[in-house]
Symmetry: C2
Subunit: 221 residues, 2 copies
DNA sequence: TCAGCAATGTACGAACCAGTACGTTAGCTA
DNA sequence: TAGCTAACGTACTGGTTCGTACATTGCTGA
């Protein structure tokens, strides 16, 4: 998440539309992720920027549109991370593991993003549905998965006729759950899924799971 | 004043503490699941029961305690379902698949429960932490997993030295994500993970994934 | 250099909402 | 059957919160 940090010259009124807008987005991301859509306070967001509530309405129109803008930027971040993935030089097994690890790392490093997505699901993806941007962004990861799967299936390394979207769901579910359900899981089972000491263990476990699924023999679907 | 359209019985003031309490819990479950903790309205819950807001405070003390009571009951339901699981007569592979399918089915049949857990995670499991009941309930599913794993590892069917809590996390993540992230996943990838036509497919996929992981050969951890 | 607009600040209002003060009644029991 | 109390209803309040009317200032182009 890009952060805007410029020396604030106190007393002076500085005009910088881009900076003001970006700063509002930064703080709003934190506040929405912290408290959920209804729990978030517009006044609180305003108080934590160098500008006022008036500017939130000036730039975004309202709380609802602000949340949509926050979502759009958060999805943009992960999409860009996925675009930088380069696995064409790897064999299918290594490539899939690499992709899974990128997802694992990104989710772990962006808990706010996970919370925003959870919140958006509570609201039944209403904001995504109403967003021009989010409606038509594809997933670079999905294209990568498709290529790897085709290659792996062609060479006979992967036994299953697995669908790319399904595999993406499988990888995402593990990575997402680990972050999204950290607190209830920890409270009920006494294990912190984000314990740094366990990080490598779960990262390996994810890769093992996916590879085992892709290479296991089983009855046709 | 007599009203023609007024039903004979519901107009009367009936006293039934247990029924009133249960009705409040029912409606509160729906309302919290629908709108989240902060989005839920105590007035709305009251309006949809046959009693008044006063009774919510009379029986539960406040919104916060009401939500905790809702969570306690929701967790009680899944705990009881898990207790009825009987897989001792099955071989380890079939037993694990059966357990995974029970989780799959329960999550699918209780989307409100999934939403409540998502909401509780947004609030960092604060209510679970403050609940006597929820703090110390174990998970019957976990005991079952432990027994099956021990049996499977002893007989050599399962190659890996897999931990029960980890396996529970793996199974839960897939089942939970399918319901919790249905809306954003559907909006972004155009696929409804709860499409009835795909139900058997995903149910099989889950079992295949878990069995593949448990039986695959791999380097020691 | 100054007009005009983009950008910003202040103060306020109307609606909402959790929680409560106070009054009432059903049904049990002595 | 009187009286007691758990169970219930009504009406209100105090604080909160989204949103806006109105005022102001910095920047830029003609």
């Amino acid at each position: 998440m890009t952060s805007v940090e410029e020396p604030a010259r106190p007393g002076e009124r500085i005009r910088d539309a881009a900076r003001t807008r970006a700063e509002i987005l930064d703080v709003a991301t934190q506040e929405f992720a912290r408290a959920g859509y209804d729990g978030a306070r517009v006044d609180e967001i305003a108080a934590r920027t160098r500008t006022t509530k008036r500017m939130i309405y000036y730039y975004f129109g309202g709380k609802e549109q602000l949340f949509t803008a926050v979502l759009e930027r958060a999805y943009g971040v992960i999409r860009r991370a996925e675009q930088q993935l380069d696995v064409d030089h790897l064999d299918p097994v290594a490539a899939i593991r690499r992709l899974a690890e990128l997802t694992f790392d990104h989710h772990e490093q962006h808990p706010d993003f996970i919370r925003l997505v959870s919140i958006e699901n509570i609201h039944e993806a209403h904001h995504i549905a109403g967003s021009e941007k989010l409606g038509k962004i594809g997933s670079p990861a999905l294209d990568v998965i498709r290529r790897i799967l085709a290659s792996g299936q062609e060479s006979g390394l992967f036994t299953a006729d697995v669908d790319a979207v399904d595999l993406h769901a499988m990888i995402s579910s593990f990575c997402f759950f680990r972050v999204s359900n950290r607190h209830t899981f920890g409270a009920l089972f006494g294990r912190d899924l984000l314990d740094p000491a366990q990080r490598a263990h779960y990262r390996t476990m994810l890769g093992d799971m996916v590879i085992a699924y892709l290479t296991a023999e089983r009855a046709a679907d």
